[in-house]
């Protein structure tokens, strides 16, 4: 099928739907009308869009952990524990790595071995294998909105199961769940498969059921310059809106320089709204989520709390609508429920202490202008490459390196761009590859990194990048030579 940024026609959608539902036997349980009726039967306090609208009006930042257990009862217990003991406002059903790759047979083995051994053999909730009934047991039992978080290049059956199962938020997108998560899947295919997911959400919306969608902002989570993640989020928002999505949360992964982080989150919302309005999607609600540091964490719990706290400060001062909370076990393993609660309590303390404060000017406006100008250069070039069609433009942009995500494993990604921190720890562009920034913006980035190189008495090089990648886990933000 030819890729275009056009709403999927019913005959195309329903033909693809038969194929999607046949991927695993639980797909046969799914009935669209009945799923919509089930969603309408849920109380409003389980609606993620409603929670986001209320928090946005009150300028509150909602706390959300990541969490997923392999068996339904244990998953329910975990989510209720995080809500009651950790004060989570929004909960996550994190999907296991096999399901994310549509390896449902291996997920089934993991469920069976977990039941036999009493140990968790999967790193998340295998929603497709549990089917609509298993999902509904979760959404009926837990007293808060639940978002499905994953990393699936093809999420069609997962989305069908999750929406009919009563989940009211669904993470991901055709770029953000391909480039950082897949090796050899074509971008055309993932964008088409995610147009299906967005069209499904659009059908629920048209029937009166609000569902939140969230493009995955942090991408590879390692020194991603804000303009790169912003461009991807804006493109995925435009693609989603065309299919009928009306409630979008755009995300950003904390980089570590407070001014840059606050500027980035504020700019992300402003720019997403600007592009949605420009292309006629005026009724789409846009909120934000800040992801606490997604790179390597220190091993010691006390130091991990400092990293969590610093992300919480950025979320609070930027007035993010939601904050994705990390745990003190981040460096060592899959976190326990107790560790997730500790991360929530640590974050909740900072968020409530800072809720009445905003970021002072102090360079904020200049940073916002830089991020906005860089992002516009990229998104506008993508639109040009696609001759006005952003789906086509996104594919061509990756082919030509106009969009280039640092450290991404996908063969569809050029991998020429290299980031590095400047003297103040802000993430800048060391090697731009084919990134279409103006000469002025390229000079700005180069000068910022040169200032650091001069202070460190060394040349800006890949060694600087390596030092930056390990810096936070070894106690610093900027990877200075010692």
């Amino acid at each position: 099928m030819e890729l275009k940024n056009r709403k999927l026609e019913d005959n195309v959608f329903f033909r693809a739907r038969a194929e999607a539902l046949a991927q695993w036997p639980t797909g046969a349980q799914i009935n669209l009308e009945e799923g919509i009726a089930f969603q309408k039967s849920l109380p409003v306090e389980k609606s993620l869009p409603s929670a986001l609208t209320a928090a946005d009006a009150e300028k509150r930042t909602l706390l959300q952990p990541r969490s997923g257990s392999v068996l339904v009862d244990r998953h329910i217990q975990l989510l209720e524990y995080l809500r009651e003991q950790g004060g989570a406002d929004v909960l996550s059903t994190t999907i296991d790595s096999y399901t994310r790759q549509s390896r449902f047979r291996e997920a089934q083995s993991g469920i069976e071995e977990s039941e036999r051994s009493g140990k968790s053999m999967l790193n998340g909730f295998p929603a497709v294998n549990h089917g609509v009934d298993g999902c509904r047991r979760v959404t009926e039992s837990v007293g808060a909105p639940i978002q499905v978080r994953h990393g699936s290049p093809d999420a069609r059956l997962l989305a069908e199961t999750a929406l009919a199962g009563g989940f009211t938020g669904f993470e991901g997108g055709g770029i953000s769940f391909n480039i950082p998560y897949a090796k050899g899947v074509s971008l055309e295919k993932t964008i088409l498969d995610w147009q299906y997911v967005d069209r499904l959400v659009g059908i629920y919306e048209e029937a009166g059921v609000a569902i939140n969608r969230e493009p995955f902002g942090p991408l590879t989570g390692a020194l991603v310059p804000p303009c790169i993640s912003h461009a991807v989020s804006i493109i995925e928002s435009l693609l989603a809106a065309e299919q009928g999505v009306r409630n979008i949360t755009v995300g950003y992964g904390q980089c570590g320089n407070l001014i840059q982080d606050v500027a980035a989150l504020q700019t992300l919302r402003e720019l997403t709204r600007e592009y949605l309005h420009r292309y006629g999607y005026r009724s789409v609600s846009v909120t934000t989520v800040l992801h606490q540091w997604m790179g390597g964490f220190p091993q010691e719990e006390a130091r991990a709390y400092s990293v969590i706290s610093w992300g919480s400060v950025a979320a609070a001062l930027a007035h993010a609508t939601r904050v994705m909370v990390k745990t003190p076990h981040e460096a060592t393993g899959v976190p326990t429920g107790e560790a997730i609660v500790q991360g929530l309590l640590c974050t909740g303390q900072i968020i409530s202490m800072l809720e009445d404060q905003s970021m002072p000017e102090n360079g904020l406006q200049q940073e916002k202008e830089i991020i906005a100008a860089e992002t516009r250069c990229i998104v506008d070039r993508c639109l040009q490459l696609g001759e006005g069609d952003i789906a086509v433009g996104a594919v061509r942009a990756f082919q030509t390196g106009v969009l280039d995500v640092p450290f991404a494993p996908s063969r569809a990604n050029a991998g020429k761009l290299l980031p590095a921190r400047d003297n103040d720890g802000a993430v800048r562009i060391l090697e731009p590859g084919a990134l279409p920034l103006s000469k002025e913006l390229l000079d700005f980035n180069r000068d910022k990194i040169e200032q650091r190189a001069t202070r460190e008495k060394r040349k800006a090089s890949f060694q600087m990048v390596i030092d930056d990648i390990y810096a936070i886990s070894t106690g610093r933000l900027v990877g200075r030579p010692r």
Partner: protein
């Protein structure tokens, strides 16, 4: 002199653990010839790459907690590919539930893997183990932190 060959990749999983690229770089500059297989690597792909490159060791990254399921049978797969003596290391978040390192090590040893390393182990620790197990000159460069 030919370099010692190391095969490196992420087994069955959908993302790079933080620092994967830099680990490749650090292994390469220590004098090893690194065959980088990237993500979503199957057991058969590890074995085939090791056989083709005459590798001395395979380092399997497993960041998801699924290490036990993903690595079962890897020793057998290597033997089938004619790699009877190859050194097998696994590095990452190896279980979902927290367990003592000695138990994890013992379980993976039983499965035929030679050494396990937690996700937080720096690449230098693997280099030191490789130098010891292979008896070859592998220079551990220190990260400038």
């Amino acid at each position: 002199m030919n370099s010692t060959v190391l095969v490196l990749g992420v087994i069955g999983a959908d993302a790079y653990p933080p620092g994967y690229h830099t680990a490749c770089h650090i292994f390469s500059r220590s004098g090893l010839a690194v065959v980088d297989l990237g993500i979503m690597v199957t057991q058969a792909e590890f074995a085939a790459a090791a056989a083709q490159s005459r590798a001395a060791a395979i380092v399997v990254l497993s960041p998801t907690g699924h290490g036990e399921l993903d690595c079962r049978g890897l020793r057998h797969t290597c033997q089938q590919a004619g790699l009877a003596q190859i050194l097998l290391y696994v590095w990452g978040r190896l279980t979902v539930d927290p367990q003592p390192a000695e138990l994890i090590d013992a379980r993976f040893n039983q499965m035929g893997l030679d050494r396990t390393f937690p996700a937080c182990a720096p690449p230098e620790r693997l280099l030191a183990a490789l130098a010891q197990d292979l008896g070859t000159a592998v220079t551990a460069h220190t990260i400038t932190q």
